[in-house]
């Protein structure tokens, strides 16, 4: 049943905090860092005002924040945290542990450039660095998507076939601090949608038990795992990501019934007859859509392929949506030093390598350290893609756009 919704003015960070208030997790352990601070501030106000039942742990570092969440989630609690850039870097070893122990923690990443030099503004260098840690990664275009993802994430991660932690990524300041209209569900609808956390059962040393730490049903999680077992446990994580590819659309469909907003792994825009298409992640995709409408008026068959879910990477959906689009430009908001290209570009190219009909693909690294991604810059990318199309080859595989020569 579609729920009656209330329109609220919220920035992206507030949308995270508000959605999380409605989810009412058992534990929130977080340490403030720009541009994520508003999330922690708002949420601690909810705790102080008695609006949530959450145990708020004011930790001394991000390493402790995620460690607390790991401990809490292992006992069966719903645990949430949020961070950005250097905070995520400090969590580093625990991100892998959370995923390997199969703990469905939800973490908002308010994307910020990694130091040095110190920079508080947006790019994707923080979460892209964590792309191999085993977390599901959702990238949001606007605060509405942020709100919705912060509710859906619990169901995706806790899905019995998945059991993985989820990062909800939103662009620092561009989304984090910008007021937008957000349609919100009633508390009751959110509560019903996420339900209670479900548990898989595992064969522990004393027999079959629910997968959570319980003194009455003792269980050991993640002890020494050497050459003889570690590889098998990694295969289980590979499988879980494969299952997530199936589970995420299921959760999206279920959420659409409640909210009327239907998300997917990829969101195409005017792709049916597109001759030049851009793909990328996050808030810039709104600007791309605006530019596409202008270009269409001018007779350019431009299209957009917004990637919402980066982990697991939706290879089949990508190939299907690109179809016979001849030229695809990838927008990468992170550099991978010494690599053949940006992280998104490399994976897109890998996805198409075995395809007989594959587009010409070029990489455009942009927006590092919050450098503005203006409509003019996006126009420049489309112009470059049109040149590639008329020439029939990619002259410059990786370009850096919006940087001074």
């Amino acid at each position: 049943m579609m729920e009656k919704q209330i329109l609220m003015g919220m920035n992206g960070d507030e949308a995270v905090a508000y959605a999380t208030k409605q989810v009412n997790p058992d534990v929130v352990a977080a340490y403030p860092i720009t541009p994520q601070t508003i999330i922690v501030e708002r949420f601690s106000e909810y705790v102080a005002d008695g609006l949530v039942d959450t145990e708020f742990v004011a930790v001394e570092s991000e390493h402790s924040a995620l460690s607390s969440c790991v401990g809490a989630a292992a006992t069966g609690a719903r645990a949430f945290t949020a961070t950005a850039a250097n905070g995520l870097a400090l969590m580093w070893e625990i991100t892998y542990i959370a995923a390997s122990l199969r703990l469905p923690i939800v973490m908002a990443i308010v994307n910020r450039a990694m130091s040095a030099p110190i920079n508080i503004h947006n790019d994707h260098s923080d979460s892209m660095g964590a792309r191999d840690s085993g977390w599901i990664q959702i990238y949001c275009e606007n605060s509405q998507e942020v709100y919705d993802a912060c509710i859906e994430a619990w169901k995706m991660g806790e899905h019995l076939d998945v059991q993985l932690p989820v990062m909800v990524c939103l662009d620092g300041f561009t989304l984090g601090h910008t007021m937008e209209n957000v349609l919100t569900l009633p508390d009751k609808a959110v509560k019903e949608f996420i339900g209670e956390r479900k548990f898989i059962t595992v064969e522990g040393h004393l027999g079959e038990v629910e997968f959570r730490l319980d003194p009455d049903n003792p269980l050991t999680m993640g002890p020494l795992d050497l050459q003889d077992f570690y590889f098998e446990h990694k295969l289980q994580q590979v499988e879980a990501m494969g299952e997530a590819l199936k589970a995420i659309p299921e959760v999206d469909a279920e959420y659409a019934k409640v909210s009327g907003r239907r998300y997917g792994m990829l969101h195409p825009y005017r792709m049916e007859d597109a001759e030049v298409a851009v793909m990328g992640l996050g808030s810039t995709m709104g600007t791309v859509r605006y530019v596409i409408d202008e270009l269409r008026e001018e007779g350019v068959k431009a299209g957009l392929l917004k990637m919402r879910v980066f982990r697991p990477f939706p290879v089949e959906d990508l190939i299907e949506v690109v179809g016979d689009t001849p030229v695809v430009g990838v927008l990468d908001k992170a550099a991978s030093f010494g690599a053949p290209g940006g992280p998104l570009y490399e994976e897109v190219k890998t996805a198409f390598y075995d395809e007989a009909d594959r587009p010409l693909i070029a990489d455009y690294i942009y927006g590092l350290g919050g450098r503005d991604a203006s409509p003019k810059l996006i126009r420049g990318v489309f112009k470059s893609l049109e040149e590639i199309r008329s020439r029939g080859e990619v002259a410059e595989k990786v370009s850096y756009v919006g940087v001074r020569e």
């Binding site: 059991q163 064969e203 040393h205 997968f211 269980l219 999680m221 002890p223 098998e232 289980q236």
Partner: protein
Amino acid sequence: MSEQKPGWRELPKGAVPYKTSEEYETGDWGVERPEIDRSRCTKCMLCHFYCPEGAIKVREDGYTEVDLRYCKGCGICATECPVKCIEMVRKK
């Protein structure tokens, strides 16, 4: 170890060990094993307390005994024994 280990589809998720450490016999790791000369042993039990594996137990008669299913052959017992009645000998 020649036991048949389960594959990734069978193993419990979340890196939950499928058996206890009691069943995980580490006795074949070492090169040497301790041999106690009970004619000189004073039943001080220091080897029992020093063993990092808990592989040396105290018997009813007060003497200690090494459980070779778990002893990794580190030799700490032999080093700590005040009367030097424990000798490390090469396993055959």
